[in-house]
């Protein structure tokens, strides 16, 4: 049972992730852009952040930068529609890079992999 922060501007995807990940037994926090994400982390740092990149107001890379400045140990999975952001070095700070897919098995696998790794550390 871990606390996951899902940062996603699309309402329908926020809802989908919440349903899917809660059914995996996680507690889900939601932020609809980078600013909200940074505020939420300030209030209560989660175990793991699932971060979209392209978002209004503040995008995911910027938000990840701000968060990791202060909370270096929070793992971040970038979950975006576009593989191309992999080439952006800001994304290299993330622990994983998963392209959004209706098949969420890859994302789930990454989450449990990172959490297991974190627990063991």
């Amino acid at each position: 049972m871990a606390q996951l922060l899902v940062v996603e501007d699309e309402r329908s995807l926020r809802e989908l992730y919440q349903l899917e990940l809660e059914s995996e037994g996680h507690e889900i926090l939601l932020a609809k852009d980078g600013i909200e994400a940074v505020e939420l982390v300030e209030k209560s740092p989660p175990d793991l952040i699932i971060m979209d990149i392209r978002m209004p107001r503040m995008d995911g890379l910027e938000a990840m930068g701000k968060i990791l400045d202060r909370y270096k140990k929070i793992p971040v999975i970038i979950n975006t529609a576009y593989q191309g952001y992999k080439d952006n070095f800001l994304s290299w700070n993330a622990d994983a890079y998963v392209v959004k897919s209706s098949d969420m098995s890859e994302l789930k696998a990454k989450i449990s992999e990172i959490l297991t790794h974190k627990k063991n550390r």
Binding site: S12, L13, L16, L19, A81, Y82, Q83, G84, Y97, S101
Partner: protein, 760 residues
């Protein structure tokens, strides 16, 4: 005439008699009978026609009335002087009935006042006599020498011109044979020919070389005409001689002139055609060094202008100095003689280019000394007294003869000297020039010819003859000057070509740089634009797909109805298909470098097999896995390689519409992991194989035509290889090789597409 009185008497009395009447009437003489008062009593036919009156008009006229002026007075005097019964013989002029005059010889016999008058028309004779007189004086006055011989060849007439021509007076010549004129230079056969012609009564005309009395020889144009008597017998020979010594001399001179001119024209024609040939060769060469060499060879070669030595100087670009560049020629006169001798063995005709080349080769070592000299000939262009600078600035050549410079220029005039038989050039006066270079050349005889191009100076050519140390003939300079024009043009051409080549190279490389920059800029812009577009498209399309597929899956957990489940599965798999297509298009638009991590290809295949299990079984396709359990891990971008495998398997399944076997095989092979996907489908036509990896190539009525292209790019970006073998109606094998130790990204050239063969 003693009988004429009787005859007259008889005639007068006989006119009544028929026979005598007829005789008188038809006599060839004109006969008039006069009565005692000298009135015409009767006239015969001839008399009537002579005097031009009708018989009626004539009869009764007084004889004196028929005569004209003086004749009448003379005749009257004669009559008055004589007494009746005397015969008269005189010439008179009658005025005829038509008013014309007629000369007549009159023979009258007077008897008892009666008279018989015989008249003969002598007009014709008078004319002939006049002509003869004129002829005689003409012959005497003639400028041509005339003499007449008898048939024995003895001279019996000469005219004054004869004396002038031969020196023999009339007295000296008469009675002698024309042999006195024999010069001894004419063959006996020639005279035989002459004699046989004139003895046969024909004219002879020809030219003879004769001797004067004083021994001088003269040339004569001779005509010998046989003179014949009434019976056609040759009685004498008329010889007319004209002195043609002067004419002959002029003829000979003219011949010599003609010959000289022809020779000159011939030699100039030859020189011109040679020059033309050399010029053509010159203009076919574009390398400046070679042009300079050829110019010098042409000037010195036996086939060229045959000067012993030639020095070439060029004006520098700023026109500040003229510097010695190149020279050809022997170092010493002795050496020159040897080379000259050797050269004469070279082929004279045929390929000029080859001849010149052979000179070039043979003369290479010989030119050491002259090339040292040529550098000493350099001068500053501001040195106005230097002969070299003067030649260039004054645009004319100089012929230096024995240390005296004679300027010359185009338009050297040919003139005939007053005497002598040769043609000479006008030699212009010597000019004051700085002739220091003659010291360097070691020769007092040489020529300087400027090389000019339009307004600009190119350089100059210095030539001399070291072997014989002779002055240079103006005639050869005429051709050399023409050649200099061609040489200058060739040098300019070569320079321009060199400059053009340089410029061309510069422009080409500038163009390449520009094009590269532009290409890079365009590429960068395109990539940036594509990247932006790809990101937008990905976001705007993937998000709804993920939502659709995700919620469908979510829903299938909650709904137990099998029918609804089936429909939700379809939504899910179609959503996945859309995602695959989107990945492919995005990769095509903006390929991303593989994010490698160590993966087990076998595991990847096993996961993927789930995707196809249902479709394969529906299409009666048996899937066979032959996976080598000892397959090593390979660094790869699992998402990209998964896409490759999906594409290939998808194609294989589509190729087996009637079912078949799909074999998936893996094995390690050296530094590679090999993955083979083998179907038993319809196969690929041979002609399509080179195209299958090209973008938008598809034979299916569905699909983007990007699958194999993107697969190819991905495998290549991994440093791997993808190969296709196919047999129609038997099946296709796609072999993917992935390296265990790939090189750095971008190692492979991304532009070439198509079949990758084993050599790569």
């Amino acid at each position: 005439m003693a009988d004429s009185g009787n005859m007259a008497d008889m005639l007068i009395h006989a006119t009544g008699n028929g026979i005598y009447r007829s005789i008188v009437e038809h006599a060839t003489e004109a006969i008039l009978l006069l009565d005692k008062d000298s009135l015409i009593h009767d006239a015969n036919h001839r008399a009537i026609s002579l005097l031009g009156y009708s018989r009626e008009d004539l009869l009764g006229k007084h004889l004196l009335d028929l005569m004209e002026g003086e004749s009448r007075e003379e005749y009257r005097d004669l009559l008055a002087d004589g007494s009746v019964g005397r015969d008269l013989f005189t010439q008179v002029q009658f005025r005829r009935g038509d008013g014309t005059l007629v000369e007549s010889e009159v023979n009258a016999s007077y008897l008892d006042g009666h008279a018989v008058v015989f008249c003969r028309d002598i007009s014709q004779r008078k004319v002939l006599e006049e002509e003869l007189r004129n002829l005689a004086s003409a012959v005497r006055a003639s400028a041509d020498a005339v003499f007449i011989t008898d048939t024995q060849g003895m001279i019996y007439f000469t005219n004054p011109a004869f004396e002038r021509l031969t020196g023999y007076t009339s007295e000296e010549a008469l009675g002698r044979n024309p042999r006195i004129l024999n010069s001894g230079q004419v063959t006996p056969e020639f005279f035989e020919h002459l004699w046989s012609a004139i003895l046969a009564g024909r004219d002879w005309r020809g030219e003879l070389t004769n001797r004067r009395k004083n021994g001088e020889i003269y040339e004569a144009d001779v005509t010998v005409t046989p003179i014949k008597d009434e019976d056609g017998q040759v009685i004498s020979f008329l010889s007319v001689q004209r002195d043609i010594t002067h004419r002959k001399r002029l003829e000979r001179q003219l011949e010599e002139y003609t010959e000289t001119l022809e020779k000159r024209v011939h030699s100039r024609t030859e020189a011109l055609s040679k020059m033309h040939e050399i010029s053509e060769l010159l203009h076919s060469v574009v390398s400046l060094d070679k042009v300079l060499q050829l110019i010098l060879i042409a000037v010195t070669a036996g086939d060229g202008f045959r000067f012993n030595r030639a020095f070439l100087l060029l004006v520098d670009e700023n026109e500040e100095t003229i510097s010695g560049k190149l020279a050809i020629g022997p170092s010493t006169p002795e050496e020159a003689g040897r080379i000259w001798h050797e050269m004469s063995y070279l082929p004279k005709r045929g390929n000029l280019a080859e001849t010149l080349e052979s000179y070039l080769v043979s003369a290479e070592d010989e030119n050491f000394e002259v090339n040292r000299i040529v550098h000493r000939l350099s001068a500053s262009m501001s040195d106005e007294s230097s002969i070299v600078v003067r030649a260039i600035k004054e645009r004319r050549g100089f012929n230096v003869v024995n240390g005296h410079a004679h300027g010359f220029s185009r338009g050297i005039v040919l003139r005939y000297p007053g005497s002598g038989h040769t043609l000479q050039m006008d030699q212009p006066p010597a000019e004051v020039c700085d002739l220091t270079i003659s010291r360097h050349l070691g020769n007092n005889h040489f020529a300087v010819v400027p090389l000019l191009w339009r307004e600009g100076p190119v350089g100059c050519l210095i030539v001399d003859n070291l072997i014989n140390r002779e002055a240079i003939a103006d005639a050869s300079l005429w051709v050399l000057e023409l050649f200099a024009e061609q040489a200058a043009l060739a040098i300019i051409n070569a320079r321009m070509v060199a400059r053009l080549e340089r410029d061309k190279y510069r422009i080409q490389s500038a163009y390449r740089d520009l094009k590269d920059s532009k290409d890079k800029l365009v590429e960068a812009q395109t990539m940036a634009a594509l990247g932006r577009m790809a990101a937008t498209v990905a976001h705007e399309i993937r998000t709804p797909i993920v939502a659709i597929g995700g919620f469908a899956k979510r829903l299938s957990h909650d709904i137990r109805d099998r029918h609804a489940q089936r429909m939700l599965d379809i939504i899910r798999s179609e959503a996945l298909r859309l995602e695959e297509t989107l990945d492919m298009v995005l990769f095509y638009v903006k390929p991303s470098q593989p994010q490698r991590k160590e993966c087990n290809v076998n595991e990847l295949l096993e996961t993927l097999s789930l995707y196809f299990a249902q479709e394969a079984s529906e299409m009666h396709i048996e899937m066979v896995f032959q996976l080598d359990p000892n397959l090593p891990q390979v660094p790869l971008d699992d998402r990209q390689i998964r896409q490759v495998i999906l594409n290939v398997i998808q194609n294989s399944i589509h190729a087996m519409q009637d079912g078949g076997i799909l074999t998936i095989h893996t094995h390690p092979e050296g530094d590679w992991v090999v993955l083979e996907i083998i179907d038993t489908g319809c196969g690929i036509p041979e002609e399509n194989i080179p195209s299958i990896f090209k973008e938008f190539f598809t034979t299916k009525n569905k699909g983007t035509g990007l699958g194999l292209h993107v697969s190819y790019q991905i495998v290549k970006n991994h440093g791997g290889k993808i190969e296709v073998e196919s047999q129609m109606n038997q099946g296709t094998t796609v072999r993917i090789r992935l390296p265990l130790h790939p090189g750095p990204p971008g190692f492979e050239d991304g532009d070439d597409l198509g079949i990758v063969d084993e050599r790569r």
